[in-house]
């Protein structure tokens, strides 16, 4: 299991109905590509976040496939339209089967 994995999300606390807001996400993860070798010449096994999703009140906002070329601590920024108050749910899927979750409430105002 990858060590020191910690998800972070930045979502505004409130938005106007129908407004497009910017969401920033970052997960600390070493994103080992599987292409590198250690000092003894053995391949270091691949260990990456391979999928990221964001849902708003159960509806999918974005679904990203991540590949080994993506750097350490992947940072994803995207926009989402907020039709109503609710909850953004963020999920990261690790190669080792771990799933990291985070959620943020947003109000209309």
């Amino acid at each position: 299991m990858a060590k020191g994995v910690k998800p972070r999300v930045k979502v505004p606390k409130k938005a106007a109905a129908g407004e497009a807001i910017t969401i920033k996400t970052l997960i600390s993860h070493k994103m080992e590509s599987g292409q590198r070798k250690d000092d003894d010449g053995n391949v270091i096994p691949r260990s990456i976040i391979n999928r990221f999703t964001c849902d708003f009140n159960g509806e999918n906002v974005i679904d990203v496939t991540l590949e080994p070329a993506i750097s350490t601590n992947p940072y994803l920024e995207f926009e989402a339209t907020v039709p109503e108050a609710g909850e953004f749910k963020f999920t990261w899927y690790d190669d080792d089967g771990s799933v990291y979750e985070e959620s943020k409430q947003i109000a209309i105002g």
Partner: protein, 284 residues
């Protein structure tokens, strides 16, 4: 043919001068997380007033995107390492079974510590950098092993301690018992080293605002240290930066943590008295 070469020579000189003008520090204000205003430009402290009118943070010499990155903690990659240090802060280690937090409380209670270092330590009878103080705590209070002077754990911890003091003015004491160390540091600052025979002052006092090859020369202020550098994607300790600079003069360098670098750190820090602590800053 000869005339043509001369013409090229003139053109190169003219374009270099023009580029020098472009590289001046920008007119911009740094506000962290839309709440903490950082002093990036202020009147020079009395002891450097004969050399500089104004002291300026390296932030003013960096590009728009790099400056923006530092303005928001979420965008500042250095804050990841601060969070790692926060975990270390609360973890008990060593034979005493104590963590930093057991003596000091929450890490944000250390606000105001970073701006005064390096400073004189009465018990050790020498000037202590923040790194030396941390290792002193680890050895004598926690019974833990020392950290490598510019190792990951150490630089992360100094970043945590800098981050809680952001916005407070750098205020190192240069008189009293620290004065002789400060004078040693000043001498080093003005001593030319290496095959290129360059002193710190040649670049950072005489030529800041100009280009050094493709890069902007800053005043070499260290209020933003440790800095996250985009070129090596990690936090960099100030002694490693000194080492890099001196290496670039093609000299044999001093070691991080050596008495020479401690003296130089005190002197260079004192040149930025009045600038806000920015660490972990983002630089190229």
């Amino acid at each position: 043919m000869t005339n043509f070469k001369q013409a090229i020579g003139v053109f190169v000189v003219a374009s270099t001068v023009a580029m020098g003008a472009v590289a001046d520090p920008v007119d911009d204000t740094l506000v962290l997380n839309e709440e903490t205003t950082i002093v990036t430009r202020t009147a020079a402290p009395a002891h450097v007033a004969d050399a500089l009118d104004e002291v300026m943070s390296g932030w003013l010499f960096r590009g728009t995107e790099t400056r923006a990155m530092q303005a928001d903690d979420f965008d500042n990659p250095g804050m990841i390492f601060v969070e790692q240090a926060e975990d270390t802060w609360n973890t008990a280690e060593g034979t005493e079974g104590k963590s930093c937090a057991d003596c000091h409380g929450a890490s944000d209670e250390m606000a105001g510590v970073r701006p005064t270092f390096p400073k004189w330590n009465d018990a050790a009878e020498e000037v202590f950098t923040l790194e030396m103080q941390i290792n002193d705590c680890r050895e004598n209070r926690m019974g833990a092993e020392k950290w490598k002077y510019t190792g990951g754990d150490m630089v992360n911890m100094t970043a945590l301690l800098a981050s809680v003091s952001r916005g407070m003015p750098v205020d190192v004491a240069i008189d009293g018992p620290a004065q002789s160390t400060w004078e040693d540091g000043k001498e080093l600052y003005y001593t030319r080293t290496g095959q290129l025979e360059l002193s710190c002052a040649n670049c950072h006092e005489d030529s800041y605002g100009l280009m050094i090859r493709a890069d902007h020369l800053s005043q070499g202020q260290i209020n933003g240290f440790p800095v996250y550098r985009l070129k090596n994607t990690k936090l960099n300790a100030v002694h490693d930066r000194f080492k890099g600079c001196i290496r670039d003069t093609r000299a044999e360098t001093y070691s991080p943590g050596s008495p020479e670098f401690v003296a130089l750190e005190l002197y260079v820090a004192s040149r930025g008295n009045g600038l806000s602590v920015e660490g972990p800053a983002v630089r190229n």
